[in-house]
Subunit: 413 residues, 2 copies
């Protein structure tokens, strides 16, 4: 059933980050016997008493059962555990799916000595197959004895599906002069892939912050990181980002999200999430090139983001980049189809920093050979100023290659 | 510069329609010497005195100069001529582009003995290159002596770019018991292709209708034909549909768009445009399968169309179809990401007529082998009822194959 493993993306980071322990967070992994053979695919995390949680889930109207579970329990803001399985997304599984999450959460709660609603759940993999929750519960049972603080690399491995490398990141920062650490792991390679994938991200910090503040910080950082990422424009039914704060750091109590002592933490959280989002783009299915699209001069930041995403999702822009063809007319086309305000005669397109257009036509000094040379590199920069306002956005994507078709059309049959 | 010609789409109609003359419409074609060698790429049409015109143009905010010309002159509703060139779209060409359309329209008006504003213009091909209008005008000069009523097949050939077959259709109908004919030709294979393409359609009829009525009928038919067509979701900067009515038919005057005597004409115009839209989908770049997506049970018809287009544009749905993989979870995903109202637990997906889902999960009688057998055919039917209302829509698309990547990434470099 599971695919043959794919060769590592040529865009994989040269070096993966080493994640230090987070006080109050421990983890253990195992093989669940449900889909993958010979590799861990089940993660249990345990959090110290007093841990709070914030979270964001997919905007899909067809959410998976674990997403519905998290949505129900996140508002209480308390967490003692997390269970993630890879290989079966438990999406579009009707009543059986809801029963499975209830059973898994109840078992984990018994093992960790907490309430069911304090166990967060996420699943990733094939859509539409009943989750064999009895096997999951059996596999979880010995894990409490194996929990360790130094298990982040194993955790990042266990949540992979079609990912060709694990995604992990860490940031150090300070709140009121006291050291705080933030770790994060993520998985995803298509927004959703043939029978697997979906974007999941789990972040833990020792910061001591109320869940309401955590939720605001997470939402803000997410808007400029994971929400600015696209591989194929297809939104998963399972997308989930959870942020756990164990409260073990020694900084004083913070009650206000606008407290200036939070600035360093806020920046570090954004850097961590942007780092993970870029890692997901680097592992886009079939990707040979990491593409950064920056839009400025839009009516609003929201408008800039929509224009940038329209460029980043255009099959014609993505295939031109795959073909190392400086076909800037396709960028004009994408801006035009976005539905957002843009001034054709003030449009300024830059490829690899070089100005391509001016006054509604090609710039007289534009050097196509120079643009083509930039497109032969593995990291491509596209900048577009649409000439109507001050809105800005930055979006990550990858090129559209034969590899994407291979992975999504040819592999399973 | 121009691409090597591509092999004919395997989805090309077995037989192309033969178009009869339309009284009051004559045409001539030639090679303009601008891009293509050894084939006509310039079309001049001439219309009898009293001909009226209606038209629709791209929603792109980056329209080409010919689109702007048509937008300026369509409101007057009068037409005496049409000039179309293939190979250069005259898009994003600044002041030079506007000067080129003025020069071409003035030359055609001199040749036909009409006002400039009564000449409609369309161009299709590469974006961002100055149109060599002196060559176009030279090539037009001998054409008035060659105008003939029986030139529809030549006209359909002359407007092709990457199209692998010409698109033409005809319908007969009656207004108040008098015979009326409608002919149409179209071009397009990607919504916009590497350095060419764009969707153009020119329709002529001998009906005698005021331009205001013609415009309403065209808009209504377009909403359910060309606006329900997608190859890659990339909207062209040149999309143009023009409908000319020469008024030579013998039916009585019609003053009201809701006049019941227009019903047969209205239906025939819709059939003609739906036929041409389907032909464009059959020539989608790299297409191996024609896909019809029908959505019902949506909150409104507009909502149904958005859901259908989201399914039809999803790279994961399109690659699954290319791979003949009955991966219905991707259809669930696409409905979920559409942003439109849908009831997961009442969602009914049918592939090739077979019910796949019920009660928010896979239907107990679903036979994957039967769905796979359907996907091996060349015409694929997907039906989705989203269970919330009575809105319906039907959309045509094609699969996403290695051929699309070849055409758009590999060919030009």
């Amino acid at each position: 059933m599971a695919k043959a493993s794919l060769p590592q993306s040529p865009l994989a980071p040269k070096r993966l980050a080493d994640l230090p322990p987070i006080e109050g967070a421990r983890m253990a992994v195992t093989n669940s016997g449900t889909r993958y053979k010979g590799r861990p695919d089940l993660l249990l995390m345990s959090f110290a008493a007093g841990t709070v949680v914030a979270g964001l889930t997919t905007s899909s109207s067809m959410p998976g059962a674990p997403v519905e579970w998290c949505r129900r329990h996140l508002p209480k803001g308390k967490a003692a555990g997390l269970v993630v399985n890879a290989g079966n997304a438990n999406v579009f599984t009707g009543r059986a799916g809801a029963e499975a999450v209830t059973a898994v959460a109840a078992a984990a709660a018994r093992l960790l000595g907490c309430k069911s609603g304090e166990v967060m759940l996420a699943s990733t993999g094939v859509i539409g197959q009943i989750l064999p929750h009895v096997k999951i519960v059996e596999a979880l049972t010995p894990l409490p004895g194996k929990l360790q603080a130094d298990g982040w690399a194993d955790a990042a491995e266990a949540i992979r599906t079609t990912d060709t490398f694990p995604k992990r990141a860490t940031q150090s920062c300070a709140i009121a002069g006291q050291a705080v650490t933030i770790n994060g792991i993520a998985k995803g390679s298509g927004m959703i892939a043939p029978d697997m994938a979906t974007m999941l991200c789990f972040i833990a910090t020792d910061a001591k912050l109320p869940p309401e503040i955590l939720q605001v910080l997470l939402r803000e950082a997410n808007a400029e990181s994971f929400n600015c990422l696209t591989v194929d424009g297809d939104t998963s039914t399972s997308d989930t980002v959870l942020l756990f704060a164990t409260g073990q750091a020694r900084h004083p109590k913070i009650d206000e999200v606008r407290d200036p002592r939070l600035k360093d933490f806020r920046d570090a959280l954004f850097r961590l999430m942007a780092d993970l989002a870029e890692q997901v783009a680097r592992d886009g299915e079939g990707a040979r090139k990491l593409v950064t699209v920056r839009v400025s001069g839009a009516a609003t930041a929201k408008s800039a983001r929509k224009i940038a995403l329209t460029i980043a999702n255009s099959p014609l822009v993505k295939t031109a980049i795959a073909g190392e063809d400086a076909n800037w007319g396709r960028i004009v086309m994408a801006v035009g189809k976005s539905g957002e305000k843009a001034d054709r005669d003030r449009l300024a397109i830059r490829i690899g920093g070089q100005l391509v257009t001016a006054k509604g036509m090609i710039h007289p000094d534009y050097d196509e050979a120079r643009a083509t040379a930039h497109l032969k590199e593995s990291e491509i920069d596209i900048e577009v100023d649409v000439g109507v306002g001050r809105g800005r956005a930055k979006v990550w994507t990858c090129d559209l290659t034969h590899g994407y078709i291979d992975i999504n059309a040819d592999y399973r049959s």
